[in-house]
Amino acid sequence: MGTEAQSGQILAGYLAPHPPHLVYGENPPQNEPKSRGGWEPLRWAYEECRKKIKEYKPDVILVHSPHWQTVVGHHITAVPKLTGKSVDPIFPHLFRYNFEMDVDTELANSIVSHANDMGLVAKPMTNPNFRVDYGTITSLHLLNPDWDIPVVAISANNSPYFYDHDTGQEEMVKLGEATMAAINATGRRAILAASNTLSHFHFSEEPNQALPEDMTREHIFSQAQYEWDVKVINLLRAGKLDEFFAIMPQFMEEAFAEIKAGSLTWMLSAMGMPKIPAHLYGYGTVIGTGNALMEWDLTQAKKEAANAR
């Protein structure tokens, strides 16, 4: 952990989608169902990304997941250790994961405190029997399957759905600012993860129920959805955040984009809305949805800015 206050740093942020199929395809010991593989391009992308995360030597990984949806405020895991089995209620035949994670409670409580100071409703989740959602676990596993880095999980307050787009995204911007302030205050070297798929229309039945990893049946839900994903990825790769935010409401509407839950907005806000090119590790579809693993390397950007000076 960092020792000096006011020396915190966000090393990098990742758009880290969470289809449980990717864990199922990998066959880690923690997951009960076993597969013949599948969705390799996305899984290889995550493998590349893992190496980079290890090189950063972060103190903590923070993840914001749409599958921990809360009604009353933003909730942050703040219990030192969480263990148990998490079964995906949608894909229980693919994801039954025995999880064990160490939580950075000091940082978690600091986020709560900063969020409350900014006028948000936020609360610590201190129940040790809490079952962590599959979105949180999948993103964290795919980024760091060794689970040797403490984590903080943040719920997706349902304000984007309960109220409206603007209200919801404003909440996420503030939550990002509170997160950044807490990282600074606690001196952490942090990695952020926005656990979001891009386009989110999916098949309403598994194409091959006998073999979920049948890659001959995997493809994007629609051409329109694919074109939306490409458009968004290209804007992010070009660092054009203003243009991205301008089209975001339409993207959410037309492609049922999961970023509506606010994870990406939270992360970009915490990073200070960096207008740097995001690196695309990979893109792939899972049961029809569009998934991109992307990185905002703030460490490298900082170096380049220093060299330029």
């Binding site: 405020g73 998490s86 079964v87 209620p89």
Partner: protein
């Protein structure tokens, strides 16, 4: 009892606050109402309970709980600081199979859920705690988000056929609220109330339709009600219940055991049983 082994349809809320009747008079009233449902289920001679909870959402067809024994401690994702919820279900696997068979025959995509550790939803656990003190065997049907009102109604009809085929007296319990406008901040539970007077008026109007057996008016008003009050899953639970009752709806008498608020939302405890 109706002719198809269905002893009655019940509609109850599923938020955990009602397990703490000491917190609020309204919670106590709802809690008492659910205990009256338990008595009715017993008096009607039910041997099985089917739960249809709007908090169990599925997207790959409709799911049917099939794990013989489900036991554990549940923590709600939102109300994790309120109380842990112990649960113990014995599933009637034969009934699950029968329901799945008739639903599949009616053109529905179905799946059987038989996994240790599957997260039973808060609503079903809360309902079972209060309406099933005799530990009757149960099963659960998921709320498929892609089925609209009409398709959900047909699903209910197919389940009714499955109940008839299975041959045991069965109570069907819908677990769902009415108006869905939660308070989005911390409140003093002693002061809980329906969040807006408009929502309250809407709930009462809808309940009056049911009390008067004006089912068509009730259903016609659902779209407007849902939009105005953020109704729980667009009041889709009723579509399932309507399908369960189907042509027998004229034979049942509605009874309202309770109405009140849970964290700003509207909650009612209703019974639809045959009165000879």
């Amino acid at each position: 009892m109706l002719d198809n082994n269905i002893v009655g349809l019940y509609w109850v809320p599923g938020l955990p606050h009602i397990l703490s009747p000491e917190s609020n008079k309204g919670y106590k009233s709802i809690n008492d109402g659910m205990r009256q449902v338990a008595q009715s289920i017993r008096a009607q001679g039910a041997e099985r309970i089917i739960y249809y909870s709007t908090a169990w959402i599925s997207v790959l067809g409709t799911s049917f709980q099939s794990k013989r024994h489900l036991e554990g401690m549940h923590v709600d994702e939102n109300w994790h600081d309120f109380k842990d919820l112990p649960f113990k279900f014995t599933i009637d696997q034969g009934l699950s199979k029968a329901l799945q068979k008739t639903c599949k025959a009616a053109g529905n995509a179905t799946s059987s859920i038989d996994f240790d550790g599957f997260p039973v939803d808060t609503g079903t656990i809360v309902a079972d705690t209060l309406v099933n003190p005799d530990n009757l065997e149960t099963t659960m049907v998921s709320s498929n988000v892609y089925l609209d009102f009409e398709a959900t109604c047909k699903l209910g009809q197919a389940c009714a056929a499955g109940i008839a085929e299975h041959g045991k007296k069965t109570a069907v319990v819908l677990v769902s609220g009415f108006s869905g406008r939660f308070f989005t901040n911390d409140i003093d539970l002693r002061e809980d109330h329906i969040r807006t007077p408009e929502d309250d008026a809407w709930n009462k109007k809808m309940l009056e339709f049911l009390q008067n057996k004006s089912y068509q008016k009730f259903e016609d008003a659902i779209p407007e009600f849902a939009k105005a009050t953020k109704a729980d899953m667009g009041l889709k639970a009723w579509a399932f219940g309507r399908g369960i009752l189907n042509k027998d709806i004229s034979k049942v008498s509605p009874r309202q055991h309770a109405y009140g608020s849970i964290y700003g939302t509207g909650a009612a405890v209703l019974e639809f049983t045959k009165t000879d």
